[in-house]
């Protein structure tokens, strides 16, 4: 019957596609969003950290680094306690990644001093000779802040005018390091 009716076939195929979609994608919104903390409970990102996050996205860091500690023994031993839904509740987009060419970064914040990050971005091989991470020395450029305020407003993050003004003179690497130092802070526990 259907092999003679293309429009009905189209509608039925769309319906078949929608069933699994509704159950596994639409319904979970309730479960997941129920775990969202009040925005005040978790300070999402300040202006500098958000700019750092956007540079992380621009450079495609998520192609080599994950930001989710799985509840498997080796992950917990290596990186710290498993990631929880509320930790990324304000992350648009999520940055969990899909491949660990480099280590997971979900709990990297405050693991190393700022100076370590600057030097490591400049020349990763100085710290790990067999590392295949490219140099990001070119991030020592002035940070473009023309959209910062609009970004903070679009995401609904609180900010002050002083905070925006303080971005003057910062470099892209300053923003990246600020973002690195924020990851996993105030939410999860790093491995001791």
């Amino acid at each position: 019957m259907l092999e003679k009716r293309p429009v009905i076939l189209l509608v039925m195929a769309a319906a078949a596609i929608m069933i699994g979609t509704v159950v596994t994608v639409v319904l979970p919104f309730r479960w997941i969003s129920a775990q969202r903390p009040a925005p005040s409970a978790q300070a999402p990102y300040n202006a500098l950290q958000l700019e750092g996050r956007d540079i992380y996205i621009r450079e495609g860091c998520n192609n080599c680094h994950t930001q989710t500690v799985r509840s498997v023994v080796a992950d917990v031993l290596r990186y710290g306690e498993p990631s929880r839904a509320e930790e990324s509740a304000f992350d648009r987009p999520f940055l969990w990644g899909s491949r660990r060419t480099g280590p997971d970064l979900a709990r990297i914040g405050r693991k190393y001093p700022d100076q370590w990050h600057y030097a490591h971005f400049d020349n990763p091989q100085e710290f790990a000779p067999r590392s295949n991470m490219p140099s990001y020395a070119f991030l020592r450029l002035p940070l473009d802040t023309s959209l910062t305020e609009r970004k903070m407003r679009t995401l609904g993050f609180r900010y002050t005018n002083e905070e925006i003004a303080a971005l003057k003179g910062k470099t892209e690497m300053d923003a990246m390091v600020a973002y690195m130092q924020k990851l996993g802070i105030g939410t999860g526990k790093r491995k001791q």
């Binding site: 092999e3 003679k4 293309p6 429009v7 076939l9 189209l10 195929a13 769309a14 078949a16 596609i17 699994g20 979609t21 159950v23 596994t24 994608v25 979970p28 997941i32 775990q35 996205i57 621009r58 450079e59 495609g60 998520n62 192609n63 080599c64 799985r70 498997v72 080796a74 290596r78 498993p82 990631s83 930790e87 990324s88 509740a89 304000f90 992350d91 648009r92 987009p93 999520f94 940055l95 969990w96 899909s98 491949r99 660990r100 060419t101 480099g102 280590p103 091989q125 790990a128 067999r130 590392s131 295949n132 991470m133 490219p134 140099s135 959209l147 609009r150 970004k151 679009t154 995401l155």
Partner: protein, 467 residues
């Protein structure tokens, strides 16, 4: 009363040649980034770093080579299966220009760092809108051609084509919902765990609706055409069709096992992934059983070789996939090189082999000539086959080794290896992978040469006939 239908083959040529062009680009970028992983000095900042090039590689392969060739082959198959000319050649021409402009702009924007970061949906919102426009123009044209068909029965390939049109539309639009900040920057409409769940519902079903239903449409059309005998069972095709389009959509969360996505969503994804073996192998068996009495053609007919090895890679892929979707195994190999090994088994083995067969079949027919060289086509086959095997086997081995090293513990329960120690072990496998890619590229270059020479010899023949 037999009426002669004039098919619009110029548009088929346009899309197939565009697909081949972007396929070559995807391969070249793939080779470059495979060497960047070996030697970080090959990263030329800021535009040519691994982080910016890897999305360029996947987008060129998936949207340029994949979708481009599919559009050409879909037009070819739809016209013939409906015995009708294309509904609107003008729209198809517009679609061809828009498609190539979009892919070119996509490449430039990714190099410039305009990137939403969601895999296979990296393009910023103005380009995403262009892709939707191209897809709508394409879908309307194909559907109207089918609705106005002169052949009453719709062959199974048309079913898969229809599913592709609607499936891609739903997936792409939902996962690209964005809140723009500027013309080149936007934030996802979903946040955190929800965003992850939407993304991998999209990501895994891009595998269904871009890398499974179109090559199946191609396989079901070109296998009988190449062997000269009908498909074993139309009924198996139909049962497999409905179970495939129903079950695939439940499985996205197997990319997110052990993460904060709710456990019941993960478990459903796991169960449905295993059930998907049935429809996948329905197609594999349908292909094998169609070869009853025809297996000698594996020696004699290079098209059959591409198609049957293609469906065999599909069979391997659809056993490996469900295995990876089980929590235990996923915990072991996820985030390692096993996964790119798996992906390329599907992309370079299954999808590309079937597309090569389709292109080898249609180009001589459209140009009313023979293929320039069957020997070169056979050489292409063996280079593609060995290149792909070296690629995938080396990365599977790398994944297993790194998986073991990462979880190895000392008697006191502490980890045996630092992360860096596991990376240092991967370099030999990465060399092997890059070599596999080079072999595959050599095969692709021979393929391009063979197609170009076929077209040129046809032009010479026609000039001689006209003289």
């Amino acid at each position: 009363m037999e009426e002669r239908v004039t098919y619009n083959d110029d548009i088929v040529k346009g899309f197939v040649f565009s697909g081949i062009f972007w396929g070559m680009a995807a391969l070249l970028v793939g080779i470059l980034i495979s060497y960047q992983l070996i030697d970080p000095k090959l990263n030329y900042s800021p535009y040519f770093t691994y982080g910016r090039l890897r999305p360029l590689h996947t987008n060129a392969a998936l949207f340029g080579w994949g979708i481009g060739s599919f559009m050409g082959l879909f037009f070819y198959m739809t016209e013939r299966l409906t015995r009708s000319p294309l509904w609107s050649p003008g729209l198809a021409r517009l679609q061809l220009y828009l498609f190539n402009i979009t892919i070119a702009l996509a490449g430039i924007s990714l190099l410039a760092g305009m990137n939403r970061s969601k895999e296979y949906a990296e393009l910023e919102w103005p380009l995403a809108i262009m892709i939707v426009v191209v897809w709508v123009i394409f879908s309307v044209n194909v559907l109207m051609t089918i609705i106005r068909r002169r052949e009453e029965q719709m062959y199974i390939s048309l079913w898969y084509i229809i599913a592709t049109l609607v499936g891609v539309a739903i997936l792409y639009v939902v996962n690209n919902l964005e809140v723009p900040v500027s013309f080149t920057k936007s934030y996802s409409a979903f946040a955190g765990t929800n965003d992850a769940n939407v993304q991998w519902w999209y990501g895994h079903n891009a595998v269904a609706m871009v890398l499974t239903t179109p090559p199946l449409a191609i396989f079901y059309y070109f296998l009988p055409k190449s062997t000269g005998t009908p498909i074993y069972s139309h009924r198996i095709g139909i049962i497999a069709f409905w179970s495939l389009v129903f079950m695939y959509l439940w499985t996205g969360a197997h990319h997110l096992l052990w993460t904060p996505v709710p456990d019941w969503v993960q478990t459903l994804a796991m169960a449905f992934s295993i059930m998907l073996i049935a429809p996948s192998w329905g197609a594999v068996f349908n292909g094998y059983l169609s070869m009853n009495g025809q297996w000698h053609q594996m020696r004699e007919n290079y098209l059959v070789k591409f198609l049957i090895f293609g469906i065999s890679f599909y069979g391997l892929q659809t056993l490996q996939g469900p295995a990876q979707a089980v929590r235990t195994f996923s915990g072991f190999i996820h985030y390692t090189d096993w996964v790119p090994g798996h992906v390329h088994n599907g992309a370079m083995g299954w999808v590309s082999l079937v597309v090569f067969a389709g292109i080898y079949f249609i180009i001589p027919r459209i140009y009313r000539t023979e293929i320039h060289s069957v020997r070169l086509a056979n050489l292409h086959f063996w280079l593609a086959f060995t290149g792909q095997l070296i690629y995938s086997v080396s990365l599977w081995t790398a994944g297993v080794q790194q998986g073991w090293m990462l979880r190895a513990t000392n008697p006191d329960g502490s980890l045996s290896h630092t992360f860096m120690e596991t990376v240092a072990e991967l370099y030999p496998y990465w060399h092997a992978r890059a070599a596999g890619g080079l072999i595959y590229l050599a095969g692709f270059a021979i393929f391009v040469w063979n197609i170009v020479m076929t077209v040129r010899s046809s032009r010479r023949q026609q000039a001689a006939e006209a003289a």
